[in-house]
């Protein structure tokens, strides 16, 4: 590659950051959060302390703050020693209808401690034009509660053939580009997409899968699939596509993010690419580090996911990848499905699971089952995805929006699909015993979720 300009264009994000019409129009209260365990993964802060929010922003925080007692002219919230951290940033949320499902998703997200979500372009209509990117921004604002940014399609109509107006959509507020659930099959298209995006410094997100290899597979290829008589998807479907993309990235330069790594080989491919100094990042979702293909059990359609749940060795490799930093971020891959689309023969059921409300609880398991610290785990759902997306969020910083989560890292509960706030109940974690619950979620200084039973 000829090198003339290394500088990437800083694209101004116009207004897709849509904090709630309701919340923004209401004056945010002055609130003192006292007696908290402050964790800021970006700076490594993990200490007892307090935080003051004012006008929707973080006014001050630290161990010494309010040492002489809480201020009188502010509402005081006693955190009871629980964790106070930046609100979660979820890079991967699927919504069908770019307008209607936003409110439902925002309620679920708030209950999960998530204050910012990135919505995939796989909506009807597809987010592949400037007008739709702007529309998402507007509708997100109307839906209120949390911050929503659109990921825009990389190819027109998600057809994998013609690249979209990335430059213009980026100016309109798209924070990343990818074809969502589908992956780009044509190597030439992928090369040109990476190449074109590189000059704007745009992030390309791909959920790698070789479509011809995956074919009509519905679960992990292997003994269980054979016993159940279901068509399998080999690990190689993911690895081949991922490896190809990384080879292309070497040609073109630019920024590439692989989403939903599920196999040991994929983790290895990314690990080696990073060692070669390539600008690669990746994420995975709770099902891939907390479950394996056994969860499919007796044709449980809630465990039909894309990529499919893999075998135990892959799951362990994914955990290792998270531990050693190969896997940068953890996403919910939230995909609500109506009951009817899951109450089907396994092969005909839609793939995907809801995940907003269980993201934090399941991810907290990592701090107990691996060497990952609480702060290290939180980084993967706050500042790291924010950095990948180029958004100045996901950290405790004076003057930043007071988007916060307060959670009890130990509170035990049983995940019950029926108790989820989400209208869709398709979680593969139904019945799981979890440890760690969100007590409050705060957006721009407003409490948008409160589990009042934990205050007693």
């Amino acid at each position: 590659m000829a090198k003339g300009t290394k500088k990437t264009r800083t694209v101004k994000k116009k207004a897709a950051a849509a904090t709630t019409a309701t919340a923004a129009s209401r004056a945010a209260p002055r609130t003192a959060y006292v007696n908290a365990r402050l964790i800021d993964p970006a700076s490594g802060l993990d200490a007892p302390g307090s935080l003051l929010s004012e006008d929707g922003l973080i006014a001050d925080f630290g161990s010494g703050l309010f040492a002489d007692g809480a201020p009188e002219n502010a509402e005081t919230i006693d955190c009871r020693g629980r964790v106070l951290a930046p609100g979660l940033v979820d890079m991967r949320v699927r919504l069908r209808d770019p307008g209607h499902e936003h409110r439902e998703a925002t309620v679920s997200a708030a209950a999960g401690g998530i204050t910012t979500i990135i919505v995939l372009p796989d909506t009807d209509p597809v987010i592949d034009s400037v007008a739709l990117v702007e529309f998402i921004g507007r509708r997100a604002g109307e839906a209120g509660l949390i911050n929503i940014y659109p990921m825009a399609a990389l190819t027109q109509g998600l057809e994998g053939k013609e690249i979209t107006e990335m430059g213009l959509m980026s100016e309109a507020g798209a924070v990343a580009f990818g074809d969502g659930v589908s992956s780009i099959d044509d190597s030439l298209v992928m090369r040109r997409a990476l190449s074109y995006a590189s000059s704007f410094g745009l992030l390309i997100v791909q959920r790698p899968e070789d479509n011809s290899l995956a074919s009509d597979g519905v679960m992990n290829e292997g003994e269980i699939a054979t016993r159940l008589g279901l068509a399998g998807i080999p690990n190689a479907a993911e690895t081949i596509c991922l490896e190809r993309d990384i080879r292309l990235l070497e040609l073109t330069g630019g920024r590439y993010h692989a989403s939903l790594l599920s196999t040991a080989d994929s983790v290895d491919v990314v690990r080696r690419a990073k060692a070669r100094g390539l600008n690669v990042t990746c994420d995975t979702a709770p099902p891939y580090f907390a479950l394996n293909e056994i969860a499919v059990g007796d044709y449980r359609t809630f465990a039909r996911l894309s990529p499919p749940l893999r075998c135990e060795e892959d799951r362990r490799a994914v955990v290792e990848g998270i531990e050693d930093g190969t896997i940068d971020a953890i996403v919910s891959d939230h995909a609500p499905h109506h009951q009817d689309s899951k109450r089907q023969p396994f092969a005909q059921a839609e793939s995907g699971a809801v995940g907003l409300e269980t993201l934090l609880a399941v991810a907290l398991d990592l701090t107990r089952e691996s060497s990952l610290s609480l702060s290290g785990m939180l980084g993967k759902v706050t500042c790291v995805p924010a950095d990948i997306l180029g958004l100045d969020i996901g950290r405790l910083r004076k003057g930043a929006a007071a988007d916060l989560v307060i959670f009890d890292a130990d509170a035990p509960w049983k995940i019950d699909a029926d108790q989820l706030l989400s209208k869709s109940k398709n979680t593969p974690f139904d019945g799981k015993l979890a440890q760690g619950r969100v007590v409050r979620s705060v957006i721009s200084g407003h409490i948008v979720f409160h589990a009042s039973d934990l205050d007693t």
Binding site: M1, A2, G4, T5, E162, E165, M166, R192, Y196, S199
Partner: protein, 321 residues
């Protein structure tokens, strides 16, 4: 400078490209071209230096301006000019190209001007004939007379080529005009930049000695010449760039992007232009900035000089600039 000693020492039988030409050879071609500029502005434009000679314009690819320019150049020098357009769609290319060359060669032409959609085709043809061959554009390879006419246009306006900063913008990947211009301008000591989205830049273009830019505002900064290239319609709809709208927004030349260039920077375009795609229509017509029509005028003069030089027939009274 006397009639007895040929002014041009041009040790090449053909003009297949800019590559391989020396700075002196280029300068002398431009000097000779200069002498024809005034002549072409007179009422009587006809000379007899090529009387009795036969030029054949053999075009395997559509062309209006280049073919017309060569035809006029030949006729103004008194040569007999024949135009042949050959469709390449229905025939096997390699076989027919050589057959055609042998057939034409048997008619004893003095100069063949050849345009062909395949890179290298003109050279292949030149190996099979006894006459001089001028490359009128081959594939993505070279278009030497375009580079010469661009150089003449620049030299007349700026008085020199050496030391100028020239930004060539747009579809570099598919452009023979860009390749010939990069070669010529570099040989003559100009600083050349290429400005394009990475999808329209060929691999290792930096090895041509150019500076590469992906953003117009950086690439045009303080340059003396902005040379825009044509972007073919079929390359704008999602394959190389997403859309006409996006291309114009980021890579189309307009007054706003031109601001960062030198105040007296000139705008060039080899034509035909796509107004509103690679260049703003109003800017293209701005006589203070655009020398696009002058390029066409210089084309005839340059081609006259090339025909004369290759046939060894020089004007009686040397072309003094």
């Amino acid at each position: 400078m006397t009639a007895a000693t040929p002014k041009i020492r041009f040790p090449h039988r053909h003009l297949l490209g800019i590559e391989g030409l020396s700075p002196d050879e280029i300068s002398e071609l431009l000097d000779l071209s200069e002498s024809h500029v005034e002549q072409n502005r007179q009422t009587d434009k006809k000379r007899t230096t090529l009387r009795g000679r036969t030029c054949i314009n053999l075009f395997f690819e559509n062309s209006t301006r280049t073919r017309t320019s060569f035809e006029l150049a030949g006729k103004r020098l008194g040569a007999d000019v024949i135009n042949m357009s050959v469709s390449t769609s229905s025939i096997k290319k390699g076989e027919t190209l050589i057959d055609t060359a042998m057939t034409l060669n048997a008619m004893h032409p003095d100069v063949l001007v050849v345009r062909h959609p395949d890179s290298g085709a003109v050279q292949l043809l030149s190996e099979k004939v006894n006459c001089a061959v001028i490359n009128g554009g081959d594939g993505r390879h070279e278009h030497p007379t375009q580079a010469l006419l661009d150089a003449l246009t620049i030299r007349r306006r700026k008085g020199k080529l050496s030391g100028l900063c020239v930004a060539i913008c747009g579809d570099i990947m598919h452009s023979r005009v860009a390749r010939s211009n990069i070669r010529l301008l570099s040989i003559m000591g100009a600083r050349v930049r290429v400005v394009a989205p990475p999808t329209l830049l060929p691999a290792e273009i930096g090895r041509f000695g150019v500076e590469t830019f992906h953003h117009m505002k950086e690439g045009l900064k303080d340059c003396d010449i902005v040379m825009m290239l044509r972007l073919q319609l079929e390359r704008m709809n999602g394959s190389f760039v997403p859309s006409v709208r996006e291309y114009f927004r980021f890579y189309g030349l307009d007054y706003a992007k031109l601001k960062v260039a030198k105040p007296d920077a000139l705008i060039m375009h080899p034509g035909p232009m796509n107004r509103g795609v690679e260049i703003d229509g109003e800017l293209a017509d701005d006589i203070d900035r655009s020398v696009i029509r002058e390029q066409v005028e210089m084309g005839v003069a340059v081609r006259m000089a090339c025909l004369e030089t290759l046939t060894g027939a020089l004007p009686q009274s040397g072309g003094k600039t």
